[in-house]
């Protein structure tokens, strides 16, 4: 029973998925309710998670393959929220596309459960499966659209994903081979015992893991699929990809590297790797975003840059356990902030492009006249992405740069701040289009309630946590306390 209880949140989500499928199959007329069932499932799962927080009995289950700790709880909430927003944002699109609605929501929910497992897994096998559980439905969703671009995006995503996960697998295999176990804690122990002698193979495994997860995190040089897939995939799915899988990847990589590969002789190496990757990702992502004309592509590149910024947190490992967690909590904070912000941006894009049927930035001209609400919300999210108060993005930026400085990574932080200037440039140019451009037709853009709600949630989150960041920061901080013990 306790086992069931432990995986309750995921079960709730999956159950919702099953119900959705059944209703879709048995009573097609009732399709309108599907998304709301999905939402119910997500709410239940969130409540379930809350009950843990209330009970406060954190431990690991299934012989240590699944961890039930503040860390996973943090991400459970996050993923539930993300998925809910995505579901809300999808409704209009799915109704219009009219292709297997039940299946769509079911897959979204499945992905969500996969993400949850991913954030809680403490065992290589479980991680691998959870990763696939969150990826394969996403491959499908990316190809869900009927047009060529969508299926092309799906296929590209899948092929590259397969290659990347093979690399990941090989890395895991090596890790297993050296340590003789797949449990992260035992791996850590065995490395502590006689890791030094196996440094070569460990480094190789480490790099392969970085490649595998880096693909999901979308950091240079594993990022190149991002713009294509974002542009081709249905916008709600792109939103899901841009926050869901990225967040999960960061969740898992943080856990794996801090728990299993935390040994000094490794962490010195990988913190440097992360630092370099961070610098490259930020710069490349931002520079390439400058000339983009398609807003989804632009957001894709910007998400690469953002990933680079998260990585400062991963790179920010210094000696004392305290600062150690500072970097990790920076990652979590940034992930959450980014989730709110980017979702908001994507939802706004969904609403707009549904109406004007284009993702070209130049077609956003004069939005300010056509839909003040959407314009302001989108502009707001862009401001948050730039890291200007009063938005949550500001806090994330400050916090993670602070971590970087304290980890003696001044050079990286300087690169970071310069990049925030570049990003300011292209985010502003979008805002400029919307506020100043002259729109060809002044037709108002209505906002459907679901979209409005999704957007509202995201923007409120951005604003509220921008003004009272304390809860979010402390949550992130407590979540990573578990690493302090190692």
């Amino acid at each position: 029973m306790t086992g069931i209880d432990v995986v309750g949140p995921q079960l709730a989500v999956l159950a919702a998925a099953a119900v959705v499928l059944l209703i879709d199959a048995l009573m097609p007329q009732q399709r309108r309710v599907l998304p709301y069932i999905a939402l119910v499932g997500l709410v239940v799962s969130a409540l379930w998670t809350t009950s843990w927080v209330a009970r406060d009995d954190y431990k690991t289950w299934f012989d240590g393959t699944l961890a039930l700790d503040q860390y996973s709880v943090f991400f459970y909430f996050l993923f539930a929220g993300i998925t809910a927003t995505v579901v809300l944002a999808s409704i209009d699109w799915v109704n219009r596309e009219g292709r297997g609605q039940g299946e769509y929501y079911a897959l979204v929910l499945t992905t969500c459960s996969g993400l949850m497992f991913l954030s809680a897994a403490r065992d290589l096998i479980t991680i691998f499966l959870a990763l696939e559980l969150s990826s394969i439905p996403q491959y499908i969703l990316a190809g869900w659209g009927k047009d060529q671009r969508s299926s092309e995006a799906g296929l590209k995503y899948l092929l590259l994903g397969a290659v990347a996960s093979s690399l990941l697998l090989y890395g895991m295999a090596l890790l297993y081979g050296v340590t003789g176990t797949t449990l992260l804690v035992d791996i850590a122990g065995s490395i502590q015992a006689d890791g030094e002698s196996h440094r070569a193979v460990l480094v190789l495994a480490m790099c392969l893991l970085i490649a595998g997860f880096g693909f999901k995190m979308a950091v240079v040089p594993f990022q190149m699929w991002v713009p294509d897939v974002y542009q081709g995939a249905p916008t709600p799915v792109a939103a899901f990809l841009s926050v869901g899988s990225k967040a999960a990847a960061f969740a898992v990589i943080t856990r794996v590297f801090f728990e299993a590969l935390g040994a000094r002789f490794l962490s010195d190496d990988w913190s440097m790797i992360f630092a370099v990757l961070a610098a490259v990702s930020m710069t490349l992502g931002n520079v390439m975003a400058i000339v983009q004309t398609d807003i989804k592509r632009m957001l894709g590149y910007s998400s690469i840059a953002q990933a680079g910024t998260f990585m400062i947190g991963l790179a920010a490992i210094s000696v004392s356990g305290h600062e150690f967690t500072l970097g990790a909590s920076g990652v979590l904070l940034f992930v959450a902030a980014y989730a709110f912000t980017n979702l908001g941006a994507f939802v706004a894009v969904i609403a707009i492009s549904q109406k004007i049927g284009s993702d070209q930035i130049k077609d956003y001209a004069g939005m300010w006249q056509r839909s003040p609400f959407l314009t302001v919300a989108l502009a707001f999210c862009l401001v948050s992405l730039t890291g200007i108060p009063p938005t949550v993005g500001f806090w994330a930026k400050i916090y993670i740069f602070n971590a970087g400085i304290r980890a003696d990574l001044a050079w990286l932080v300087i690169i970071g701040v310069l990049n925030s200037v570049i990003s300011g440039y292209y985010y502003l140019s979008v805002a400029r289009q919307m506020f100043l451009g002259e729109s060809s037709d002044g037709a108002k853009i209505p906002t459907s309630p679901s979209i409005g709600m999704a957007l509202g949630v995201a923007t409120i989150g951005v604003l509220v946590f921008g003004i009272v960041p304390m809860p979010l920061i402390s949550a992130a901080h407590n979540a990573v306390e578990i690493f302090a013990q190692h």
Partner: protein, 648 residues
């Protein structure tokens, strides 16, 4: 010297009275500014009232100081302070101040009265009197100030009111330009004064005039510092008193209403420079270099201005240039230890020059022009004006026994004592002065009337009444002041003849040099003869026409050209220095730098980014395999890099 034994007691007059002098016109100004629209004509009387009160008190002060044998009294209060910087507001009276007060208030009063008539019906009537009141206030403040800081403040305010009054008829482009020119040129001089203030505060740590005098004379200040300070002071003075090379603004300043020219640009403000140098006379005593500079600049100014005055055809400009040259005279005197003489000349000059200007105004009022070639024979139409003007001219020319004679004579004496070359210049100038004044008189008041300037009724800005065809004497409000002013123009010299005046003025100084007698027959007779010669020459050329001016001009063509073009100084300044070098050259360069270099770099950075971005796009070929390659290559590179970074 008699008064040195008798200890000079500080004047007993109460401080509040001194402040009252300052405040009376100030209130008039404030009232007009606040209620100017409603007041209408009353504003004029208001100003007269204010200035009158000030005038009355000033005389009281004068006598009080005389009773006190030219003692000194200062009252000082802290205004604001920031650490070591302590700035006071205070008043100081002594002989010098008292004389200046009297001069300023008296002339001002008479000019205001005159203005009632002159400005009658002008749309800016109220504004005019407001400015006048403001000017009087600031001039009095300048005179009363007991420290350099405060003095500088009123110094600038004087400049402001001068600007406003020159540009009074702002719709005339020439007036607007002249006003701007006056302010800027004087401000250039003020730079020196400002620098001097900075210097003295950092070196002496005080602004107080007495303290500064002590500091300069005590000798614990380095010689060159004192010289620099003195030169700074003189630069300021040169600006206000229109000394070469900063004299160019004064002739243009005649664009203002004539009473303004009389009050500000003849009698009082332009004398402020002389006053300033006199104020710090001990400093100049302490530095002979500075003194020589003053003397020679004065001499040059006097000469240049006189030469230009000879060829002017504009009635007022003749007077303007003569003013410049007389100011040069005063400077010359100061430079040659003629402290008393300078003040004395300032005193007399104030009266007869004001008289002359008001006379010219009266002429203009009936002929609607200042061009002497359009006048002539006015003697019979406007007798009062003629006679008073004649008195003024004689006095200026320095004919015994008029006021000008005594003061000019004393200056020449000091010059002779100090340096014969200076005396020679002075004498030449004296000759020219007599010459051009009587040239003006003969052209204006003798011969046949040439009809003046016909009235242009389309110009809504002209407020000329009457008919230039038939000139007439002006009304009593205008002639009255003329008559009143001619009295000091005649008599002002006498009571200065014996030494009381000198002692009295000297009382303002911390220490007094031995001075010889202030009169020598040799100098007196020679200068009189020179003046008479000048008059005679004018009589020969412009009345009898034994020699025609044309032929003379032809003979001395190059000189005439030089004079008529004012030595090309205006061209040099405006066309060459300002327009060409500064605007078209230097500033254009800087602006180009701003636009193309500074902004250029910024925009170039942006373009570079876009360029880079477009270049990088080609990497994104859309080929899955290339993406896969990137992944694989990434792994290998990272692994190898790590192994290389810290080998196994």
């Amino acid at each position: 010297m008699l008064f040195l034994e008798s200890v000079a007691s500080p004047p007993s007059i109460g401080e509040e009275w001194l402040w009252a002098i300052l405040c009376a016109p100030l209130f008039a100004w404030a009232l007009i500014v606040l209620y100017g629209r409603k007041l209408g004509v009353v504003s004029g009387y208001l100003t007269i009232l204010g200035v009158g009160v000030a005038c009355a008190i000033s005389f009281a002060v004068l006598f009080n100081v005389i009773d006190a044998d030219g003692g000194i009294a200062t009252h000082s209060h802290e205004w604001f302070s920031a650490g070591p910087l302590v700035v006071n507001l205070g008043v100081r009276i002594d002989g010098l101040t008292a004389i200046m007060l009297v001069v300023v208030t008296t002339v001002s009063l008479l000019v205001q009265v005159y203005s009632i008539g002159y400005m009658e019906g002008d749309p800016g009537y109220g504004r005019y009197f407001a400015h006048m009141a403001l000017f009087t206030t600031s001039m009095l403040g300048l005179v009363l100030a007991d420290n350099l800081f405060q003095l500088f403040i009123f110094w600038e305010l004087v400049g402001l009111s001068s600007y406003l009054l020159i540009g009074f008829w702002y719709h005339k482009p020439s007036a607007a330009a002249a006003a701007k020119k006056a302010f800027i040129v004087t401000r250039i001089g003020d730079l020196g004064l400002l620098a001097a203030i900075l210097l003295v505060w950092t070196r002496a740590g005080t602004f107080d005039i007495a303290a500064v005098q002590d500091w300069a004379t005590s000798g614990d200040a380095k010689g060159y510092i004192v010289t620099l300070f003195a030169l700074g002071i003189f630069a300021g003075a040169a600006g206000k008193s229109a000394q070469f090379p900063l004299h160019v603004w004064l002739p243009d300043a005649m664009e203002g209403p004539t009473p303004v020219s009389a009050l500000i640009h003849a009698a009082t403000m332009v004398a402020a420079g002389v006053y300033l140098v006199a104020r710090f006379f001990p400093v100049f005593e302490a530095s002979s270099d500075a003194r020589d500079v003053v003397a020679w600049i004065g001499a040059i100014t006097a000469l240049i201005a006189a030469t230009i005055a000879i060829v002017q055809t504009d009635f007022k400009r003749v007077l303007a240039y003569s003013t410049i040259s007389q100011l040069g005279y005063m400077m010359l005197a100061l430079g040659s230890f003629g402290y008393v003489a300078a003040i004395f000349h300032l005193f007399t000059h104030a009266f007869f020059k004001a008289l002359l200007f008001l006379g010219s105004g009266s002429v203009n009022h009936s002929t609607n022009t200042f061009d002497m070639r359009k006048m002539g024979g006015l003697r019979k139409y406007m007798p009062i004006t003629f006679w008073t003007f004649l008195i003024g001219s004689l006095s200026l020319a320095g004919i015994f026994p008029l006021a000008g004679f005594w003061s000019k004579d004393e200056i020449l004496l000091d010059a002779w004592r100090h340096n014969h070359a200076l005396w020679a210049v002075g004498a030449t100038v004296a000759f020219m002065t007599a010459f051009y004044m009587f040239r003006a008189i003969f052209l204006t008041f003798y011969g046949e009337y040439k009809g003046g300037e016909p009235v242009d009724h389309h110009d809504e800005d002209s407020h000329f009444h009457g008919d230039p065809k038939h000139p007439h004497e002006s009304s009593w409000v205008m002639t009255g002041p003329l008559i009143l002013l001619s009295i000091p123009a005649i008599a002002a010299g006498w009571f200065a003849y014996h030494e009381t005046f000198g002692n009295f003025i000297n009382g303002a100084l911390p220490a007094v040099r031995e001075e010889g007698s202030s009169f020598e027959f040799g100098i007196a007779i020679s200068s009189t003869l020179i003046a008479l010669a000048g008059i005679g020459a004018a009589y020969a050329i412009y009345y009898r026409r034994w020699v025609t001016s044309e032929s003379l001009r032809a003979t001395f063509a190059p000189f005439a050209l030089l004079f008529e073009n004012k030595y090309y100084l205006d061209r040099l300044y405006e066309d060459f220095l300002v327009k060409t070098v500064l605007q078209r050259g230097w500033n254009a360069l800087l602006q180009a730098n701003d636009r193309y270099v500074v902004d250029g770099i910024v925009n170039a950075t942006g373009r570079l980014g876009r360029e880079l971005s477009t270049r990088l796009r080609v990497v994104q070929t859309g080929q899955v395999q290339s993406y896969g390659l990137a992944i694989g290559a990434g792994v290998i590179i990272i692994v190898v890099a790590v192994y290389a970074a810290n080998p196994l």
